[in-house]
Amino acid sequence: MSGVEKVYGGTGLSASQVEDGSIFVEHDALDCEYTWDAGVAIGRYLQELKNGRIIGRECDECRRILVPPRMFCEICWRPNDRWVYVKDTGTVNTFSICYVNWDASRIEPGHPPHLPAVIELDGATKMIGIMHILGEVDPQAIKIGMKVKAVWKPEEERTGAITDIKYFKPY
């Protein structure tokens, strides 16, 4: 380890050389379309969100109430037993204050950060939660364990998606 770093010269490449075609590259944009069959569990879950309710499934063996619902218990390895409505209130399990957008650009100074959080819903088994976002809250005031409540879109705007809940806010 001499500690001396040798610098090798070279020819720098620029984006404009790619754009003007003087450097050959292959370019194509993916164009694939999919439609995922919701099936029994997700289908009912989305229908109930449209109705302004959150539904889960209960397993009679381990007694867990699973949200989002699935039709089988992956632990007990059996079809689970019944639909159970849970409340639209819950507790923040964990959260992050995000200053970077979906496309990796930075949020402009002065604009609010994104606030994704895991919400443990009241009525579901402890440690079972749904991923959502927080709103109407000072980011610096968010704490793990904070009580929150769903803020729903107006009924006519709901489509059967998790975004039928706009966000969860402290209450």
């Binding site: 194509d28 164009d31 029994v40 390895w77």
Partner: protein, 387 residues
Amino acid sequence: MGKRVAIVGIGYSTFRTTSQDVNYREMIFDAAFKCYEDAGVKHPREIDAFVATSEDFMEGVSIADEYVPDQLGAATRPVESITGDGIQGLAAALMQVQTGQLNLVAASSFSKASNVIDYYNVVSYACDPTYIRPLKEHPYFIAGLEMMKYLHGTGTTKEQCAKVAVKNKENALDNPNAAYGSLVSVEDVLNSPMRFDPLGLLDTCGDIDGAIVLLLASEEKARELNKEPIWINGIGWGTDTPNLDSRINFGAEAQYAKLAGQKAYKMAGIKSPKNEIDFAEVDDTFTYKELQHLEALDICAPGDAGKLLEQGAFSSKGTFPVNVSGGSLGMGYSHEANGTQKVMEIVLQLRGEAGKRQLDGVKTGLAFAWRGIPTATGAAVILSKDK
């Protein structure tokens, strides 16, 4: 060959052209639940590891193997995914058991082809971006080119190819798991809309949704379980060059099938495939493929498959039944589960559970799958039962 490994359980969902009432997780759970039940395994915690076969582009989710565990009963257990044909997944599971460290390994594969709106785009993204995609041809043109060369190189006729569709679609009528069973005539096939000359519409199989789960066991474990063990005697896979224009004897001979077959035969100690194997499920994604593959797999001499087919050799009552299940032309094409679908039929036949289409006295079967356009990859497996 190392330690003996057997298929001790099989489970499958219904096979349908669409399956809107179930999510893929529910479909796979159905197959896995039936598989473990079939083997007499009460809970998947008795299973040591899980192998899933999947292709992210077909699922529309990347790193799709992260979504595998729950529906296989594999939550918090060792799981790996194989991007390839189901027989390649089976090979991975087999090797895990052969390490001697694991006694029971499950292998799953499935198709939700009906959810892929632009399947041909998915296929086209598998084509070389420099040499093929700029030509802007529908990727199935490759099958047209290959069939043209196969007919030219072997003297096989379009009528003989049409008879593959006639046979397989009729066989499918006796298979409750087949979605494309029908009585079609040679004329129907020849007169079906021409797509990529000489390849017509009825020379091409349709898609299917469905899930299949297999359970593999070490010899010791296999003897303890419910079902008669179906032994994996040999397995092999092979790939020709990805460059279409420099594949060895392109079209006239399926090099990948030859390589895969030779490896599987060697492992199984098979010297004369047509005499030592009783029946086969062989990839028939396109009609000519069944004939081309039979020749490459040394079931008959190059150029003889069409003639033997016409003589009835490959019919269910023939000397060497091929695709009694209906094959992909009769059952439907299940993408990553293509090879597993063939393995499933061999297992059912060897167990004597094939219902109306049951073959008499079969002891050894061959399953062979091709990975589809534009690949030159295939995988073969030899299965047998104790006398």
